[in-house]
Amino acid sequence: MTYSRKKILITTLLGATWLAALAFGGKTLFRYETTPGSVGSVASSWPSVSIVPQHTDKPTLLMFAHPHCPCTRASVGELAQIMAHALGKVNAYVLFVKPPNAGADWDDTDLRSSAAAIPGVTVLTDENGKEAARFGAETSGHTLVFDRNGTLVFTGGITSSRGHAGDNAGESAVLAALTQQAVERARTPVFGCSLTKRGPNAERKLCSN
Amino acid sequence: MKSDPEGIDERWLPNNALFAKMKIVVIDDEPANVALLEMMLDEGGYTRVKTVTDSRLAMETCVVFEPDLVLLDLMMPHVDGFTILESLRAAAGEAFLPIIVLTADANESTKLRALRAGATDFLLKPFDQLEVLLRMNNLLETRRLHLQLDMQVAAYADAVRERTSELRDAQTQLQKV
């Protein structure tokens, strides 16, 4: 079979463009997915004022979530994994942040109900993001683990990239902190939507994290 | 017709006084042939001979002349021998009229056709005169016998009729008595 030169030329150009486009697109997506969200000044110990009761019998796990963030679905999924391994060894809370102007059904989402369905997990509503601000969480999916003494042993995301399910460093660290007495405070990047509205400055600051 | 070196006179006497008065008709279109037959018949002792060279007149002549024997040629202009043969047979009816066909046509089929049409005898030209005369004699003899028989039958019939009427008369007379 013989084809016209023109056709082959066009195809070659198209092919090259294709590859270039794919490379660019792939890179952009990759970049987006692997860019972590911002992290505020995380409390290194249990804050004095909190709606979340402090426990001294078991470590406490806190996850801050945006009820509409699709990426947090993976984080909730990973939480379910963790809870499966560490049921009874931890007091777990998922706090859904509710902005001040949000309607009554703001956090009535499938994400909230799937979190509530995890055994051993208590779902709370964080009115106006006060608790998030108290604990220093700014990105949906941010998870904190405090030991019995109220000392922070883990802070960060439990997914490897945006909305990416599967084993990851955060999950391993959480499980280690819950099951063994972790010596070191672990820290991982958080992938997800912002919990509260940020200005462009805040974005830049967070990126450097 | 084989060469016969033996004395001609000796074998030449076929005629019988009985037939001298028999009437012969010759029908032939060829004058030489007619002349030959006339001479032959003359020598043969026949005195009542009539010849016809125009076949159209043949029937008329025969009806008037009432021949005892006919010598007939077949191939003739105007009316051919077969037609004459059939007419003669039709005219003769029950009576025995000998007709000798004399023709130069040697085809078997002609011979059979002629015999079927009523010829009594058939002779091929050229013919042997003695043979013709002998055959004529034979046929005339037969005719004579036929005529005689007819006469006798007629005579017997008369006698029977006479006798019958006598008997009838006798019967009526007896009845009267």
Binding site: G26, H164, N168 | I8, F127
Partner: protein, 726 residues
């Protein structure tokens, strides 16, 4: 179905390869099409998934369209559109499938990305590999696998935790990931090779079938006779070969639109349709000689043979027609017929001419011989007598000539009727000799028979004609032998199939070079100076007569010693010899004649004796015999027998004539006549019965039949008389 296992059949490789490539290309194109649709579908699916799973991205309570949606739309589009272009621009090309392979795996990557790395979405990778194997080209799996591997590799480098979930991936995990893909690939490659093998198998089979098909097709196309296949349902031509087209003058394409009926000469339609009907009713094969009308209007005579072609169920589907051009033969036949007609006409004209000639010659000859006879009787002087002798002798000579010419022409025209039957040699010879004796005596010659001839010796011959031949030979011998010479007749048995009669003279002999001319008509071998008269037809006639009787004639001569003419005829057992035995078997026969007078007109003494002896034991039957027709007629008239047995061949009159005269005479017309003949054909018998014969018998006489026929005929006559009396 084809058996797809076992060795690949050997085949004409070029064609098989061609078929194989064709098949592959078909598969490539079909699979291209499949992927074209799949690509577009996947694109749409990506968008839908993105919209469902992550429609928006959130920033507090503000939200915007999620980047996944844009990715699905743009990257998904990018991935799928180029392959779609390729399938359109290069269907079935290698590059197309490679691009598709790459694109499909990229699509997997995109999907996995969009679904957040769901482990289930990884099935798309394995499914895609399987679908790629639809190409049956293992090489397509290579770029696809490379893309998967690269994806993992790159992610492993830059984002190990996104691939393996841990920061530092352990090597076995990457091996396992690759392992599963390789695991699948191994089986897909095996499957590809199998498919290829099957395809080769099919290609070779097909090529082989094609080759054989080609061969029979060629036989059909190149056959030297016209061949055509005609569909039974619409009666149109389905297939014709070159010869057929050439014969009818229409091209193959023109014929496809026509039916054989349209090509058939109108006069032959009925016959053609009859044969078609016969075949539809079960006759397997039908041949017809018919005419076709060529395109240019000419007529083609053809010998058309057709048969029915049935399908597997035995239902008639087509006619196979084979046509041979017999126009030339028909033309030759017609020419032959015309020639024969012409020959017959000429022959008839010749006979007619001879018959007329004979008539025209006989008429004046009659006058010549007639007046000669008159002159002979007028007591001529010796001088006149000698002159008349000359006239008579010349006239007779002329008559003989005419008769012989007629005889020869009759034999040549096949009109001569022969009655071949057992004839006693002694009888015929005695008759001939007695006729010759006077002539021999004239020339002081001895005429004798050499040795004694067995009385029982019979030959198969026509009695009259045999006598004619013997007379001719004897006459010649006597005429051409000087005075005082000697003529001898002898008999020789050369073998069981022929008996030879030899007439030897002591003449001057004939030179060898002249012998061959002896039997040529009118060639008198320059004997004119000798003064011996002859027609020059005698021997020619003898030869023809002998041949007509199934015998032969020849001559042997030595100059100065004499000449010997011989004739050969087949010997046969004497009918008298067989009589006693036959009578014995017939004695039981109840139907013997009751009594009466029988007249037997027959010239053959053997037959007369036979009948005499047969009736000897029947004293109540009186037998009259006549050896000549005229004598028979006289006896019939004189004695009025109850039955006349009539032989058809008599010396003086033919049997038909005797019969005709018997019927014509009022004295004899009532007498039943049984005709006896040796050579009666059915036609003859019918003619005789029509002419008035009551019955007929064939020679040699069967005694039982003889008595039966006599009885039937006589009793039939009685019954008729009774009926007449009543």
């Amino acid at each position: 179905m084809l058996e797809l296992t076992g060795p690949i059949p050997e085949a004409s490789s070029a064609r098989a390869e061609e078929l194989f490539q064709e098949h592959r290309h078909q598969i490539f194109c079909a699979t291209d099409k499949l992927f074209e649709r799949l690509m577009l579908f996947q694109w749409v699916a990506c968008i839908v998934i993105a919209l469902v799973v992550s429609p928006r991205t959130w920033d507090g309570e503000a939200s915007q369209v999620h980047i996944h949606v844009w990715s699905a739309l743009l990257i998904g589009g990018a991935i799928s559109l180029f392959p779609v272009w390729m399938t359109r621009a290069f269907p079935g090309a290698v590059a197309t499938r490679y691009v598709i392979g790459v694109a499909q795996m990229l699509m997997s990557a995109l999907l996995i990305g969009l679904t957040g790395g769901r482990i289930e979405t990884h099935f798309h990778v394995f499914g895609s590999l399987v679908v790629l194997s639809f190409y049956r080209d293992w090489r397509v799996l290579v770029p696809a696998t490379i893309v998967v591997a690269l994806d993992h590799f790159l992610r492993g480098i830059y984002l190990p935790y996104s691939v393996y979930g841990v920061l530092s991936a352990s090597p076995w995990r990457s091996i396992e990931h690759a392992g599963w893909v390789v695991f699948e690939n191994v089986f897909l490659v095996i499957s590809c090779f199998r498919s290829i093998r099957e395809m080769r198998f099919i290609a070779n089979r097909t090529a082989a079938l094609e080759a054989s098909d080609q061969k029979s097709r060629q036989l059909f196309d190149d056959a030297p006779i016209g061949m055509a296949v005609v569909a039974i349902d619409n009666e149109k031509f389905k297939q014709v070969n070159a010869r057929f087209s050439e014969m009818v003058g229409y091209s193959a394409d023109e014929l496809m639109e026509r039916t054989p009926v349209e090509l058939t000469h109108p006069d032959d339609l009925a016959a053609t349709q009859r044969s078609v009907k016969a075949m539809l009713e079960g006759t397997e094969r039908c041949s017809v000689e018919k005419r076709y009308q060529r395109k240019n209007g000419d007529t083609l005579w053809a010998d058309r043979t057709a048969c029915v072609i049935r399908d597997k169920d035995g239902t008639p589907r087509d006619f196979l027609i084979m046509v041979e051009d017999i126009t030339e033969r028909k033309r030759a036949e017609a020419a032959l017929r015309d020639a024969k007609k012409e020959a017959d006409r000429a022959n008839h004209a010749k006979s007619e001419f001879l018959s007329r000639m004979s008539h025209e010659l006989r008429t004046p000859l009659n006058a010549i011989l007639g007046f000669g006879q008159l002159l002979e009787r007028q007591k001529p002087t010796p001088q006149q007598r000698a002159r008349v002798e000359h006239i008579m002798s010349a006239g007779r000579h002329l008559l003989n000539l005419i008769n012989e010419v007629l005889d020869i022409s009759r034999i040549e025209a096949g009109h001569l009727q022969l009655s071949v039957e057992p004839v006693s040699i002694t009888e015929v010879l005695e008759e001939a000799l007695s006729l010759m004796r006077p002539l021999a005596a004239d020339r002081s010659m001895k005429l004798c028979v050499d040795g004694k001839i067995d009385n029982d010796l019979h030959l198969l011959a026509d009695r009259q004609r045999l006598k004619q031949v013997l007379l001719n030979l004897l006459t010649n011998a006597v005429k051409y032998t000087p005075v005082g010479g000697r003529v001898t007749v002898s008999v020789e048995h050369s073998d069981s199939t022929k008996t030879r009669l030899i007439v030897t003279d002591t003449g001057s002999g004939i030179a060898k070079e002249k012998l061959a001319r002896l039997f040529t008509p009118f060639d008198r071998l320059d004997v004119e100076p000798s003064g011996v008269e002859g027609t020059g037809l005698g021997l020619a006639l003898c030869q023809r007569l002998m041949q007509a009787m199934g015998g032969d004639i020849g001559v042997h001569s030595v100059i100065g010693e004499g000449t010997a003419f011989w004739i050969d005829l087949p010997p046969v057992e004497s009918p008298l010899k067989a009589l006693p035995k036959a009578l014995e078997t017939a004695t039981d026969d109840a139907s013997r004649p009751e009594g009466g007078r029988i007249l037997y007109i027959e010239d053959n003494l053997s037959n007369l004796t036979l009948v005499e002896q047969m009736l000897a034991e029947q004293p109540q039957v009186e037998l009259l015999t006549a050896m000549q027709g005229s004598l028979g007629l006289d006896l019939a008239r004189k004695h009025r027998p109850d039955l006349i047995l009539l032989d058809l061949h008599l010396p003086d009159l033919p049997g038909h004539e005797v019969l005709a005269r018997l019927r014509a005479d009022s004295l004899t017309c009532q007498i039943p006549v049984v005709v006896i003949s040796a050579d009666a054909t059915t036609r003859q018998i019918q003619r005789l019965l029509a002419a008035g014969a009551r019955n007929y018998l064939t020679k040699p006489l069967d005694i039982g039949q003889f008595f039966r026929v006599i009885d039937e005929t006589m009793h039939g006559a009685d019954r008729q008389v009774e009926a007449a009396v009543a």
